[in-house]
């Protein structure tokens, strides 16, 4: 799709360089002239937003690591030292902590956009799977990062999550707990755990950056999908990436950052848990151990299953399911714009994820107060939500493609854009 290169080296040096390492040609073809569908909307700006957020996280993270001490006795105070004694340390830390939340806000919108417009369908399956891998890497990185301040939620969150592995004891006795011991570097979460989590938290973002490179490469081979979900037919359907999308993405990036800095400066602890301002204490368990908001739906699925091993498998399955989406969707049409049934189920799925998130945020035996003092345990809502989550991918997606009659597709991207349609 990117077609033959249009780069013309202008100076003697750039000609010399071009025949040795054509970096300028690569940048020119991928970032300047790259033909991009002309109808991309706001939801397509989140790729650029995510790249910016990754950059912010890496830069602020590297600076934080200069002052942070990965030691169970010193970690909490070193973070408070950053907040109190290091010049603008509070700014760097709040940017990093809120940056994680906004990174996830952006990635969820990006994923839902991919689902809605069928961006995972041929020929973009590898692009989608790389995205799923990126998401999993983000979850792991965020989890390791949340442990580092060594507050109560850091410690107990790490304890709960690493204990998932001990569920494997139910398959092979001692296997799971041996894995957990190996992960901890001891018989409980402690100093060795903190040190290796810090090491991994520093490593994974660079792995993410590498996979982002592959993700963008895999995007540039077939080119962008678009809200109509139809293929680009010719040059009339596209515009060069620069200046059209550099300026459009730039505008949306600025808008997104505006909201982000609003939280950094005016509600920096909005996404945090107060318990994490209490130093980790292995002998005092907090009344409710809750993960960060972006993991709540998965936490709800885990708890909705009464059996530990099955719960862990359900949670893992909810993530693994995403890998198969390109083949679970049997429809010939990509965009939900032309899929009246899929459109409705998509929004049901979004609502389902929000409900699951709510269930995950509440205590384990919370219930909804109904009329006449009747109680509806939230775990039943979480069970329904979990069932719908899996049904959406494994039943509804394959079936809809067979039974749904899509609306007629436009002839080309240029046609509905150029003519004042309908």
């Amino acid at each position: 799709m990117s077609g033959p290169s249009t780069y013309v080296p202008k100076s003697g040096f750039s000609r010399w360089m071009d025949s040795r390492l054509p970096l300028a040609r690569f940048a020119h073809d991928t970032m300047l002239t790259f033909p991009t569908p002309r109808n991309l909307n706001i939801w397509y700006a989140f790729g650029a937003i995510l790249t910016v957020m990754l950059g912010i996280q890496i830069v602020t993270g590297v600076v934080l690591a200069m002052h942070y001490v990965a030691n169970a006795n010193l970690a909490f105070d070193s973070v408070e030292g950053i907040m109190r004694d290091i010049n603008y340390g509070w700014l760097i830390r709040y940017m990093h902590a809120n940056g994680a939340s906004f990174f996830f806000i952006a990635v969820y919108i990006h994923m839902f956009r991919g689902l809605y417009y069928g961006s995972y369908k041929a020929p973009r399956e590898v692009l989608w799977i790389l995205g799923v891998i990126l998401y999993l890497l983000m979850v792991a990185t965020a989890f390791f990062g949340y442990v580092l301040p060594w507050g109560q939620m850091s410690f107990w969150g790490a304890t709960v999550i690493t204990n998932f592995f001990s569920a494997l004891d139910q398959i092979v006795p001692h296997m799971g707990s041996s894995i957990a011991t190996w992960l901890w570097g001891g018989y409980a979460v402690g100093d060795p755990t903190l040190n290796r989590f810090f090491s991994l938290h520093y490593l994974l973002p660079f792995v993410i950056a590498g996979v982002v490179g592959l993700h963008i490469w895999a995007l540039h081979v077939p080119g962008n999908n678009n809200p109509l979900g139809i293929d680009v037919k010719g040059p009339q359907d596209t515009v060069p990436f620069h200046p059209y999308y550099t300026v459009k993405d730039g505008f949306y990036v600025a808008l997104f950052l505006l909201v982000y800095v609003g939280f950094v400066f005016y509600a920096p602890n909005f996404f945090g848990n107060p318990d994490n301002y209490t130093p980790a204490n292995p002998v005092v368990t907090p009344p409710d151990i809750v993960p960060e908001w972006y993991l709540l739906p998965f936490y709800a699925m885990l708890r909705s299953v009464p059996q530990k091993l099955l719960g862990v498998l359900v949670m893992a399955g909810s993530l693994v399911t995403l890998v198969f989406v390109p083949w679970l969707d049997t429809s010939k049409v990509r965009s939900s714009r032309f899929r009246p049934l899929m459109k409705q189920f998509f929004w049901l799925f979004v609502v389902d994820c929000v409900i699951l998130g709510y269930c995950g945020s509440q205590g384990a035996d919370a219930s909804l107060e109904m009329m006449h003092g009747m109680q509806l345990p939230l775990v039943w809502i979480a069970r329904l939500g979990t069932a719908f989550y899996f049904a959406f991918f494994w039943l509804i997606m394959p079936l809809l493609g067979l039974i749904e009659t899509p609306k007629p597709l436009p002839a080309s991207i240029a046609q509905p854009v150029l003519s004042p349609a309908e």
Partner: protein
């Protein structure tokens, strides 16, 4: 007419919550207002000074403030003037005894076996009232008075919660509620049994600025001070934030105009 179903629903809800009221559940925190709320809120300097006095003369008998250094009282960066002047901070620090470094002979205790001490300097942190957790528990009926450096950020409900705990402690015990021996009734505390005796009384302190030292006033002042202790850079944060927000609004506006201009001919 539109309001009727709403009112009915409200009645129903009120009925169910009254029915469901559980004495072991804490009451929601009192609705108090603070100088430091909102995007432009700052810490009331007079309240901080009075609140420091309450901490020093009342709370610090049992509660440490480990993360705060004396020089922190001297201002928190741009847009955040000091609570006390440098001379005042020196005097405040000198009033505390700090565990001394070993003397020339390498000793850390005097002839009588007591730890060596020296007067504090601004770089020192507030000394803790007890040497360690066991000493703190032994002096407080087995309970551990929490460090107050981050108390406002470490509790759901923040300043209002801490204010409610401090003023609600020792409230009249309702009929049918059994207070555990050695504990006190505090309706805002989880479980409503708190180990801390009611900490503030009218005139627990004498304010030099003439403000009447009621329990509410003392509590309001000390919670303002503790909110500052939890977030000493809040004023600098809001101050810089204003500039950053203005810059981002301007940048977004300019980018929007560029976007409109670049795309004008593309449609």
């Amino acid at each position: 007419m539109k309001a009727l179903p709403l009112a009915l629903a409200g009645l129903l809800l009120a009925g169910t919550t009254a029915f469901a009221e559980d004495m072991s559940e804490p009451m929601p925190p009192k609705d108090v207002h603070w100088s430091f709320e909102g995007p432009f809120g700052t810490y009331d300097r007079a309240a901080l000074q009075r609140g420091f006095q309450v901490y020093k003369e009342v709370c610090s008998a049992c509660h440490s403030l480990n993360l705060v250094a004396f020089h922190d009282l001297g201002g928190g960066g741009e847009g955040s003037p000091g609570i006390f002047s440098d001379a005042q901070i020196k005097a405040i620090a000198a009033g505390y005894k700090i565990a001394a470094e070993p003397n020339d002979k390498g000793e850390t205790t005097d002839d009588k076996g007591q730890p060596l001490t020296r007067p504090g300097i601004p770089a020192d942190h507030f000394p803790a009232p007890f040497a360690n957790e066991n000493a703190a528990r032994a002096n407080n009926g087995g309970a551990l008075p929490p460090d107050l450096s981050l108390i406002v950020k470490a509790r759901e409900g923040g300043a209002r919660y801490v204010y409610s705990i401090v003023t609600g402690d020792g409230s009249p015990v309702p009929h049918g509620f059994k207070v555990i021996d050695g504990k006190y009734y505090d309706p805002y505390f989880p479980g409503r049994n708190i180990s801390m005796p009611p900490p503030l009384r009218a005139d627990s302190v004498t304010y030099s600025d003439g403000t009447p030292a009621t329990v509410d006033q003392e509590a309001h002042d000390v919670v303002t001070f503790l909110a500052w202790a939890s977030e000493p850079k809040m004023e600098e944060r809001k101050h810089i934030g204003l500039g950053v927000m203005a810059f981002m609004v301007l940048l977004s506006g300019l980018l929007f105009l560029s976007y409109r201009r670049v795309w004008k001919d593309a449609h």
